[in-house]
Subunit: 386 residues, 2 copies
């Protein structure tokens, strides 16, 4: 008895999404005729669907803005300002927050440094600060995404974290959610960065991506079929959890030691400028980590590897060295290309807000299966580098 109703309503729902997408893709107002042509739906249907969407507040009628002869067409516009979604990246040294509208446009952004141990309240503070930047009304906030370093359980607790030990065991998602009265999606920072790169960064267009972050420690995260690989115990990619398996020998308590130049960045820059010692040190480093990377590649055989490490302009040195080192590990010539991260350090916070869109799509838009605006989320990157 529910089947028929369900199927019929599903069809209407699908058409709502189709019309909303057509309206949101072209970001100025559109007439019913155009939407009808674009979606393949008949004019009366489009009209009925748009009425529903106007009712729901997702679409607003606009002035016809006529040009030619004939009766002016009623125009409609996606009400992208109807709701807000926030993303927060709570790291060991600071917090970043971003606020987007329903179309994924970046409306507010904040970056706060911190010396003291982190507190849960700094998450809400960052959201408020980002909202104040553009005088946004947080009453329209629909959902929040949160990125944390460490093993994040499905229930929103932080099971383990070397970077934020002060928050381990706390019900973080629950606390923030109760405080803000909004749903909170929470996940590991590297996993969210990988997702952002796959959806709209260097891995765009590929569904299977391995993301590699090379800093003072090495982190791996994997996106398969367009979704983050979590694993039964949320340990997928946690290669550091293997005993006695240090990635490199020149690491001392989580700090990489470089000899040719004081910092990793300096070594990269020098190698890029032609310094042979620096290049040799990088090649040696890559050779050390290549074995385990090769194993990861042979387990999942991804389409592409996105690498974040060192300053963006010098990443080519690291990439080529790593590529060569990995190639030496493999018996077959088939190997995914290694490309530099496109989103850099922003990837984490973009992944956070994006995953909120993904997980709470229905609550955010009020329709089922509306796709998240990853394209725009990741595209508005320039605004930050101002």
């Amino acid at each position: 008895m529910d089947t028929a109703r369900g199927a019929a309503q599903a069809e209407r729902s699908a058409n709502q999404v189709a019309c909303l997408r057509a309206l949101a893709d072209a970001d100025d107002a559109q007439t019913v005729g155009v939407i009808s042509a674009e979606t393949g739906l008949s004019r009366p249907t489009v009209h009925a669907v748009l009425d529903d969407l106007v009712e729901a507040g997702l679409v607003v009628p606009t002035d016809p803005s006529i040009v030619g002869p004939g009766r002016p067409a009623r125009a409609f516009r996606f009400a992208r300002e109807a709701g807000l979604v926030a993303g927060v990246d709570l790291g060991p040294r600071g917090v970043r927050a971003i606020i987007c509208d329903l179309s994924g446009r970046r409306l507010g952004y904040t970056e706060l440094k911190r010396d003291r141990p982190a507190e849960i309240s700094s998450i809400q503070s960052a959201i408020h600060a980002a909202a104040d930047e553009s005088a946004l009304d947080l009453g329209r906030l629909r959902a929040v995404g949160l990125a944390l370093p460490g093993v994040v359980e499905a229930n929103g607790h932080l099971r383990a974290s070397l970077a934020l030990p002060e928050l381990v065991g706390l019900p973080i998602a629950e606390t923030v959610s109760q405080h803000l009265g909004r749903p909170v999606a929470i996940d590991n920072d590297i996993k969210l960065a990988a997702l952002a790169e796959q959806r709209g960064g260097a891995g765009r267009g590929y569904s299977d991506v391995v993301y590699l972050q090379i800093g003072h420690r090495l982190s791996v995260s994997i996106v398969l079929n367009g979704v983050i690989r979590q694993g039964r115990h949320r340990l997928a990619g946690e290669l550091g959890a293997q005993r006695g398996m240090r990635w490199t020998r020149n690491a001392d308590r989580g700090q990489l030691i470089w000899t040719s130049h004081p910092t990793g960045e300096a070594v990269l820059s020098a190698a890029a400028a032609g310094d042979a010692d620096a290049q040799a040190e990088i090649d040696d480093f890559c050779a050390q980590i290549a074995g385990r990377i090769a194993t990861v590649l042979l387990v999942v055989d991804p389409e592409i590897v996105v690498v974040r490490g060192g300053p963006a302009q010098d990443s080519a040195v690291l990439l080529r060295s790593l590529e060569a080192a990995v190639e030496r590990e493999l018996l077959f010539p088939e190997r995914p290309p290694f490309v530099a991260s496109a989103l850099g350090r922003e990837a984490v916070v973009l992944g956070a807000v994006g995953t909120a869109f993904d997980q709470f799509s229905t609550r955010i838009y009020g329709v089922h299966d509306y796709p998240s605006p990853w394209r725009r989320i990741t595209h508005d990157l320039e605004r930050t580098s101002k």
Copy 2:
């Protein structure tokens, strides 16, 4: 303009599948009323759908076979004999073939040894032999699944194979398909074994399974979200493709060397009987391979690990030793359980026929998205051990 038609027909199609499933699940004849109750569809709808299915030959009306008072209900039965699906496991020493009906029942089975190099024609021969066993009419054959050792490309060629070098580079799937006039699904043998174990073997009920075959060489295959992980170059799980990465030190050109007893099976049996030397040798072996297994576990973090190795009755010795060795490698206590393969050597051929059901479901049944009868395929295992 196609949307409405499409949605409506999709609904009808879904209802066809629902009715067919209800009919196939209870494998004797069912009345319209029962199906209606089971599917939640109304009686007139069920009747219309069944008429379609009878038309398509998938369902046959049956004698009412009444019992109580009242007008006898028309009964219908799933026409499981309407089509056949074959699976073939072409190995280095022989070939196995199985033939199932539409419900996944095993109707024919054959096992042929071979000393000479393999030929493609032995695939068809095995199918014919299996059909002859039960006097089956291969005119009803709908699809074929084929398992091969080595790297199998998506187009049906064998890219690399240590076990069957004589077939490398040949368009195997295409040749068999043209010869039989039927679609042929082809894949790597270990991958298909993993799939069979996940769908109806020791990994039943789990969607993320790592399958480990421990013989003279070690093979890994991974099922994620219920589908075989293939990888961009079909190399997912091919850990042997990493240079210099021998799994164990007591291997000589692909042959494991045992000292306490002549064969691996003998070592396992002795250890099971309490032989300390044998147990020590097994523990040493497991310690050697545990590192790489741990890495695989940390990359994908599966729900369960299915292990095939040694004779079934002594597998507990190997499993416990392996479990302990892997546990020593991991920093976190979370670890998937290790269980013994339920399908044994049959897993490969069962996976072959099952993947044919999966891939050619529409052609086999004539309806969209009818689920493969994995349960019955893997359940009829006893018939072989006769």
